[in-house]
């Protein structure tokens, strides 16, 4: 069961610090999310993993050993800045990608055909890349990342340009990879996807690791307790309530520190306030994200 260790990584550019003593670990069987605003240093860390950029200090280990070319062949990487050879045939491009990962021509071809089929692009194999739509090209790109059956998958914004059906498909593929004991690292801005997919996350801001750990634990420690309520009456006047915000047709009730949703429910029942809807809200990751960034990453 492989474990990826990012240990005290540091990388500075002329004027900016892209990674400042960043350490975290990703284990097999999990989908790991890397979050952070644009320019936070996520791509730099991923590029260091792929040996495209060398760190100024620190190291990245796989099962305690430095990563060599052979280990790197086990990684499927979808960079944010990605593309295909536009004037060439889809199948040729994929076979080339596969062979660069160490596959023989036959195996690369078989992998390409299998993944094109899985994405419903089987008929496009002989077409030139530039005749495909943007979404189709994106799927070809993901097929290229997966066709050598990597045990580690690193994807930078994999869902941009994908329609909902294919988004679900890719999500399933990633889940399946992690269930099979692989490591999946996902870098994205799309918080709902992080919530749906990731077990653990690392949030990078200005090159520093500002949040790291189990998503649920982070939510619990960082989030404010709130409840979505549809009820008549002055909710703001209740003793456990801190403040109330409109949330669609409902009220989002923020509880005072220490108060639990059950306390609010008890109060509502006691005072005979009719309740149509009562839903305990988990703090959206987006909120934690925004709050952490606004606080300057000092969380």
């Amino acid at each position: 069961m492989p474990t990826l260790t990012f240990s005290r990584l540091r990388k500075t550019y002329a004027t900016t610090v892209a990674a400042d003593d960043v350490s975290f670990e990703v284990g097999s069987g999990e989908v790991f999310g890397m979050l952070g605003p644009n320019g936070a240093g996520k791509s730099t860390i991923i590029r260091m993993l792929m040996d495209i950029i060398a760190p100024d200090a620190g190291e990245i280990l796989l099962d305690g050993r430095p990563i060599g070319a052979r280990e790197r062949d086990r990684i499927g990487y979808l960079p944010e800045e990605r593309g295909l050879y536009r004037k060439e045939k889809v199948l040729d491009v994929l076979v080339y990608f596969g062979m660069l990962k160490g596959l023989g021509r036959g195996a690369a071809r078989a992998g390409a055909v299998r993944w094109l089929g899985a994405f419903g692009l089987g008929e496009m194999a002989g077409r030139r890349v530039d005749t495909l739509s943007k979404g189709q090209q994106q799927k070809v790109q993901i097929a290229g990342t997966l066709l050598h059956d990597p045990s580690i998958v690193v994807m930078d914004e994999p869902f941009s340009g994908l329609d909902p059906i294919n988004t679900v498909f890719v999500k399933d593929v990633l889940r399946e990879r992690s269930r099979a004991g692989g490591i999946v690292i996902l870098s994205t801005h799309q918080m709902p996807l992080v919530e749906a997919l990731c077990d653990r996350v690392a949030m990078i801001h200005r090159g520093r690791l500002v949040l790291y750990g189990n998503l649920e634990e982070i939510r619990r420690s960082q989030g404010e307790a709130s409840v979505l309520v549809d009820a008549d009456g002055a909710l703001g006047a209740l003793p456990v309530v801190d403040r109330v915000e409109r949330h669609g047709g409902l009220s989002r009730v923020f509880l005072k520190p220490g108060a639990r949703p059950r306390d609010l429910m008890d109060l509502l029942v006691q005072r005979g306030i009719p309740v149509e809807h009562f839903e305990v809200m988990r703090t959206p990751v987006e909120e934690i994200f925004v709050r952490t960034v606004e606080a300057g990453g000092s969380a």
């Binding site: 495209i52 950029i53 990487y77 080339y96 021509r105």
Partner: protein
């Protein structure tokens, strides 16, 4: 298959299969030969016509020394021997035959016609029946001077100078007639006949051998052919290399590739693949054009002097790898195709210019300081060493030093260019600062 081999295969096949490559490779010789044909043929036809029209010159012999029967023999053997030899040599190929036939028309046309008096001759000149009037004055034997008349509108051309040659020959023969025995006359006219001359070389151990003319030509031809091939293949392949790098940068495909292969491996694979494509193009051009014969000749000569051939081949391949990698690495720093091309041109200039300015000095003193410095400096080594090798005077250890230094240069160039590629290709739309380049080079 190694990853380098994968890149070589892909770069070669994807280039060769491109429509633009096919059009340029096979269309170019066709258009060039049509163009060259037009450029060469049209003036030649006009020249031939003008030569054919104005063929006679008048001769007025006031000194009374010209033997008219000599004019007849002159006409019979054709006015000028050198021209004849030239046409004979050209005779081999189809284009040579055309040229020879044309030369024949102009060459055989310079005739002298004796006129009894100057006024009659001048009349003929004004009436354009003759092109020129030559007068041998009474005091010719004392002074050696003659008089020549031509029209004010006379043009400059071959025909006239040949008429003058014929006249000189005629005068020489007329003066000898009756005094010099017939057997001596050809020797007085042409004391040394090239065709009957033999040359020898004496070796260090005193053995004497006939001079190997073919070998001598090989010594000049092999380095010459290699130097030209080197320049052409660098220019042709560099075009494909720069285009490929710019495309991968533009396509954003480069990061996917660099996550699977080291940049110096990628660069090396590209060099070999695209170099092969460029070389193939050259071979097609050269063989389709009638230069095939000269290439075949060079190959035949290679058999005569295989050491020289392989020496040149070595410097050709190493030189190509070094220059190609430097050009590509530098080009990766450019933010667009034009900038890339300008940056890459620095290297080709540095390679070509020094030997181009000093080649005479290098050939004169192949073991002099200048020749040695240029031969050992990796950038100027390829062309300089080809020239030096051609002289056959460079000691073997000197060649080995140059080859080792160049090999080190190739290694360094590929490492540096790999680092530059990694840096430049990931910086979309902007050029890295000098400081960043230096940092990256230290890392390499």
């Amino acid at each position: 298959m190694s990853k380098i081999a994968v890149v070589v295969q892909r770069e070669f096949l994807s280039t060769v299969k491109r429509r633009s490559y096919l059009i340029v490779t096979f269309g170019m010789p066709f258009f060039v030969s049509i163009y060259m044909g037009l450029v060469a043929l049209v003036p030649a036809i006009f020249m031939a016509q003008s030569g054919a029209q104005k063929k006679e010159s008048a001769l007025v012999d006031e000194a009374g020394i010209v033997h008219e029967e000599e004019i007849a023999t002159l006409d019979a053997e054709g006015a000028d021997q050198p021209m004849r030899e030239l046409t004979k040599r050209l005779g081999g190929t189809a284009s040579g035959k055309t040229a020879a036939a044309m030369l024949e028309r102009t060459a055989g046309s310079a005739r002298l016609v004796v006129y009894p008096a100057l006024d009659r001759a001048l009349e003929a000149l004004q009436a354009r029946r003759v092109e020129k009037v030559y007068v041998i004055p009474r005091d010719y034997l004392e002074t050696g001077g003659i008089e020549a008349y031509q029209r004010a509108d006379a043009s400059f051309g071959f025909g006239r100078s040949r008429a003058r040659e014929s006249l000189e020959k005629l005068l020489g023969r007329s003066l000898m007639a009756g005094i010099v025995p017939a057997a001596l006359r050809p020797r007085i006219e042409q004391p040394i006949l090239r065709g009957a001359t033999r040359s020898f070389t004496i070796k260090d151990d005193g053995t004497i051998e006939p001079l190997d003319v073919a070998g001598r030509i090989a010594r000049v031809a092999i380095p010459g052919v290699f130097a030209i091939l080197f320049l052409m293949s660098v220019l042709v392949s560099a075009g494909y290399l720069l285009q490929g790098v710019a495309e991968e940068k533009e396509n954003r495909v480069i990061e996917v590739i660099l996550s699977s292969i080291r940049p110096d491996e990628l660069l090396f694979g590209k060099l070999l693949g695209l170099g092969a494509a460029g070389l193939l193009q050259l071979v097609v051009w050269i063989s389709v054009a009638s230069m095939a014969t000269s290439l075949l000749a060079a190959t035949a000569l290679a058999v005569l002097d295989f050491k020289l051939f392989f020496g040149c081949l070595l410097f050709f391949v190493f030189g190509f790898l070094m220059l190609g990698s430097l050009m590509t690495g530098t080009a990766a720093l450019g933010s667009n195709a034009r900038e890339s091309q300008q940056l890459a041109a620095i290297w080709s200039t540095m390679t070509i210019m020094p030997p181009a300015f000093t080649w005479m000095g290098i050939l004169d003193a192949p073991n002099g300081t200048m020749a040695r410095v240029l031969g050992w400096f990796p950038l100027t080594a390829p062309i300089t060493m080809m020239l030096r090798l051609g002289t056959g005077q460079v000691p073997w250890w000197d060649v080995v030093v140059a080859a080792v230094l160049l090999a080190a240069g190739v290694y360094l160039a590929i490492r540096i260019s790999g680092a530059l590629m990694r840096l430049g290709l990931l910086m979309y739309g902007k050029r890295p600062s000098v400081r960043e380049i230096l940092r990256q080079l230290r890392h390499a």
